[in-house]
């Protein structure tokens, strides 16, 4: 009984360690932890071309792995962050940047939401200003009107 439990524990330990090894071991990282950290930050802003809305940091696609290594190589070669991004954009276009740059092609993307919000606010403002104006000017009641109001209210109280 004890032996079986110990055996099961050993198998479980092996499986857990094997998973960790799989996750860590396949991809060589840069020996310098500072450079590796910089490379990984760059991985996070680059979009994976195969799985589209993942960054290459998150993706398991083979091309994402190749691109991670390209980024590591450029970082190790002494490129600045901007130079690395330029290197990748030159090959795959602005599309690979998860945060697209502001230019003629992306103007609508960047300005669209604030524009729609501004239009909505303006429309709401105009609506309220107009509706207030449409209330007729208030004049004090004439004595006849006051008498009528009193009569009506009196009727109600009695009834």
């Amino acid at each position: 009984m004890m032996a079986a439990a110990r055996g099961a524990l050993a198998v479980l330990t092996f499986l857990v360690l094997a998973t960790v090894a799989l996750a860590q071991g396949l991809e060589p990282t840069l020996p310098d932890p500072v450079l590796e950290a910089r490379a990984q930050e760059l991985h996070k802003v680059l979009r994976c071309l195969v799985c589209q809305n993942q960054s290459i940091h998150e993706s398991n696609a083979e091309l994402a792995r190749d691109l991670r290594n390209v980024v590591r190589e450029r970082v190790a070669a002494g490129d600045s962050d901007a130079q690395v991004l330029t290197y990748v954009v030159a090959r795959y276009g602005d599309w690979v940047l998860l945060r697209p740059p502001f230019n003629a092609g992306t103007m609508l993307l960047w300005l669209g939401p604030p524009l729609i919000l501004a239009t909505a606010l303006l429309g709401t403002g105009v609506y309220f200003v107009r509706s207030r104006r449409s209330i007729p000017d208030m004049k004090p009641l004439t004595s006849e009107e006051q008498a009528r109001v009193a009569a009506l209210l009196g009727e109600e109280r009695q009834g």
Partner: protein
């Protein structure tokens, strides 16, 4: 009707048209950053038994098709027959063999025939990255100055060949021919 009442209708129509156009777009087809740019500099060994190798210098001096293929790529098998036809028409076509093993690539060309005037084996996929390749097959049309003029993503079928690729090749050939030599 007051003009202000037409505003929601106009907004609706504009949004509906924009969304309808958006539905027709293919998000998998990422426009190439390399159109109108020179081919990246590279020099590759040939696929085993299918020499000579391929380099960027080979892509200058004539309008050519560059096809990125791999033996592990199923759609490549579908389009392969069309490249045989294109080669028979005398249009130079070059093959970049992407992330393949020499034995598999060689067996593939032996089995299906070799339409490529030259082949280059890009075993690490680094030349592919320089070309902006993100899926195989991909096909490029390169003009006589070695400038990339067209990229087609995915398997080429007859319709794509006849409405996109061959017209581009012919137009570029006509342009190259019309220019005085020198």
């Amino acid at each position: 009707m007051r003009p202000a009442l037409a505003v929601p209708l106009v907004v609706f129509v504009v949004v509906a048209i924009a969304l309808a156009v958006g539905l027709g777009l293919k998000p998998r087809e990422i426009p190439s950053a390399l159109i109108g740019k020179p081919v990246p500099t590279f020099a590759l060994e040939p696929v085993q038994d299918f020499g000579p190798g391929l380099s960027s210098e080979d892509l200058k001096g004539q309008v050519a098709i560059v096809n990125v293929f791999a033996s592990w790529c199923v759609p490549c098998r579908v389009e392969h027959g069309l490249w045989e036809e294109v080669a028979k028409q005398g249009i130079p076509i070059y093959g970049i063999n992407y992330k393949d093993t020499p034995a598999n690539a060689s067996a593939w060309l032996k089995q299906l025939g070799n339409p490529y005037a030259r082949t280059g084996a890009d075993r690490q996929g680094r030349v592919g990255i320089d070309w902006g390749v993100y899926g195989v097959p991909e096909t490029f049309v390169v003009d006589e100055h070695g400038m990339i003029q067209l990229k087609f993503i995915g398997p080429v079928d007859r319709a794509a060949l006849e409405t996109q690729i061959l017209p581009k090749v012919r137009a570029l050939q006509a342009k190259a021919g019309a220019r005085p030599a020198g």
